[in-house]
């Protein structure tokens, strides 16, 4: 928890400093049309650096008091989280190429088999039905296009 806390605060500090630096490039003084573009974000950046500093000092105070905070992750928890994040990431990656319908179908099939251990009939039915429902509701009813992938055009379909 402590390490995570400090890492997170460091990241926020870095973002704050980046914002300050960038803002300075846009001009932080008084221009022809009022305050220049960088002045307001500069204030925000300074505020963010200050908050990160406050979070640091808070964490250090806990540290010195010797209170042991609970660990950031329960043992083994990262595996569970990864079991969701990785297939989802793969699905999005595939979506760029083969479209969301096929990618989602594969994603459902893999996830239901691997984590849920469902019967093949259930898996097949749902892997077809849910992407199809998405197609009908979003594209047919509400005319919202979903990503269809770039491969099909290249194959001449």
């Amino acid at each position: 928890m402590r390490t995570a806390e400090i890492l997170c605060a460091t990241l926020i500090l870095a973002v704050g400093m980046l914002v300050c630096y960038e803002s300075a490039q846009y001009g932080v003084g008084w221009g022809d049309g009022g305050p220049e573009a960088g002045s307001y974000p500069l204030l925000l950046g300074i505020g963010l650096v200050a908050s990160a500093a406050a979070i640091f000092s808070q964490t250090l105070r806990w540290w010195r008091r010797g209170q042991a905070p609970p660990p950031f992750l329960k043992p083994g928890a990262w595996k569970k989280v990864a079991s969701v994040a990785v297939p989802a990431g793969v699905m999005i990656f595939l979506t760029q190429f083969i479209g969301i319908y096929l990618a989602a179908g594969l994603y459902f099939a893999v996830y239901m088999r691997w984590i849920g251990k469902h019967r093949w009939v259930t898996i097949a039915a749902l892997s077809v039905f849910i992407p199809l429902a998405g197609y009908v509701v979003f594209w047919r009813w509400f005319l919202i296009p979903l990503p269809e992938g770039s491969v099909w055009a290249q194959l001449g379909l």
């Binding site: 928890m1 995570a4 997170c8 926020i12 704050g16 914002v19 960038e22 846009y26 008084w30 221009g31 049309g33 009022g34 305050p35 573009a37 960088g38 307001y40 974000p41 925000l44 950046g45 505020g47 963010l48 908050s51 990160a52 406050a54 979070i55 808070q58 950031f72 992750l73 329960k74 928890a77 569970k80 989280v81 079991s83 969701v84 994040a85 297939p87 989802a88 990431g89 699905m91 999005i92 979506t95 760029q96 969301i100 989602a104 994603y107 459902f108 996830y111 239901m112 849920g116 251990k117 469902h118 749902l126 849910i130 998405g134 979003f138 509400f142 919202i144 296009p145 979903l146 990503p147």
Partner: protein, 513 residues
Amino acid sequence: MEAIQSLLAGFEIFLTPHNLLMAVAGILLGAVVGVLPGLGVANGVAILIPLTFGMSPNSAIILLAAIYWGGLFGGVITSILFNIPGEPWSVATTFDGYPMAKKGQAGKALTAAFCSHFVGAVFATVMLTFFAPIVAEFSLLFGPPEMFAVMMLTFSAMVGLVGKSPAKTAASILLGLIMAAVGLDIVTGGLRFTFGTTELMGGFSFLVVVIGLFGIGEIFLTVEEGLKMDGVASGMSVRTVLETLREMPRYWRTLIRGAVIGCWMGIKPGGATPASFMSYGFAKQFSKHPEAFGTGTVEGVVAPEVAAHAAGVSAMLPMITLGIPGSPTAAVMLGGLMIWGLQPGPMLFKEHADFVWGLIASIWASNALGVLIVLALVPLFVAILRIPFSILMPSIVFLCAIGAYAVNNRIVDIWYVIVFGVVGYVFKKLDYPLAPLVLALVLGDLAETAMRQSLIMSQGSLAIFFASPIAAAVNGLAILFFLWPGVKAVRARLRPQPATPKATLQDVPAADR
């Protein structure tokens, strides 16, 4: 009685078959969203906003608002029957709702909760109907310095009054404001923080951020917790419903107290969750049988629920009058308003009276419809919770991906959703509140414009923020709130007190508040 006339006109807009259908569909969808622990209302509304692009603003807001009410109702079912809060504002309901369910009084607990919701809704809607036009009229006097002051008050209230760690709340707000500044600078037309990429030119869409933070982040948390769905039978019957209804007037004190707390907490940006805890705490303090709390007393269910719903409804008041949302869900709806081409703010009441009054009429009707629908359909919602997690979870991810893509038709937005999902997960674990970030992201452009316009008006003098009585008073209050954590710390050091156990917001991760 102008308000009543306007309200009747509003009902004329609402009472078309199409809009009624929207309301019913919204309540059903919202209840499903509310029931499912991995799917929050703010996220549900964000996913569905693209569906409303082709609708008239009237129907669109009726649909989205109905999802909100449905979500408020739905969270109760999961809390009482499964001891898992379906929504953060139902956490306090698990304290007494689940024990009641285990004693075989689930039907009674559910009915009492739904009735409390209805009372909270009526109370807050009456307030909204008569108070909103007055606030709107008053806020027409607001220029940029006053608007800026009101936004400062919003942010300062979150830093000073709500969160556990003021520094983390401040960081959250500032990150939101900075994200809002990415892209085109609205005053000079230059680009900021794009680092030479085209992806960042359009800035961050708040819908994508909400779906990531609240949708995917929530899923990561749920998976880590390893959700076990062991439900108690609901045991709803017409007889239990009627018996409980007859019992309700007994709790009038708790109901009114909770509704007042809810209205107050909803108007100032605190949201439904702290309101529900506060109401629970007060009910326990003033009860004749405080020891019964936590063992399954009806009062313990009534108190948080009435406040949660009242807060949810009254969060609409600053949204429609000032253009400042009182909760993350209201923030998403406000973003929707801008997408539909309406300018939120004091002029909304004047220029789009039909929109505003149609919305207010729909709040009346949807909440009444909502009680009937959820009472009748409890078994259906319970059945949804029996769907295995390994089917539910990928479906929610699929919906989040579609929702993110539909905003701008860009695949990169789906990646953003995953990135913000990780951010949301880490922030929630480390107690950084998420709601302020979303509110700041939605309000960012308005806040910057208000500040720069004020400074242009005064030619650079900061005195303009204290020139008019309204701006001075509101800014003064904001500064007080910002300093409040410091004042508290100093007082605590001067006067060391034994810690008093309160029933207690501290049990909830800050992000939920």
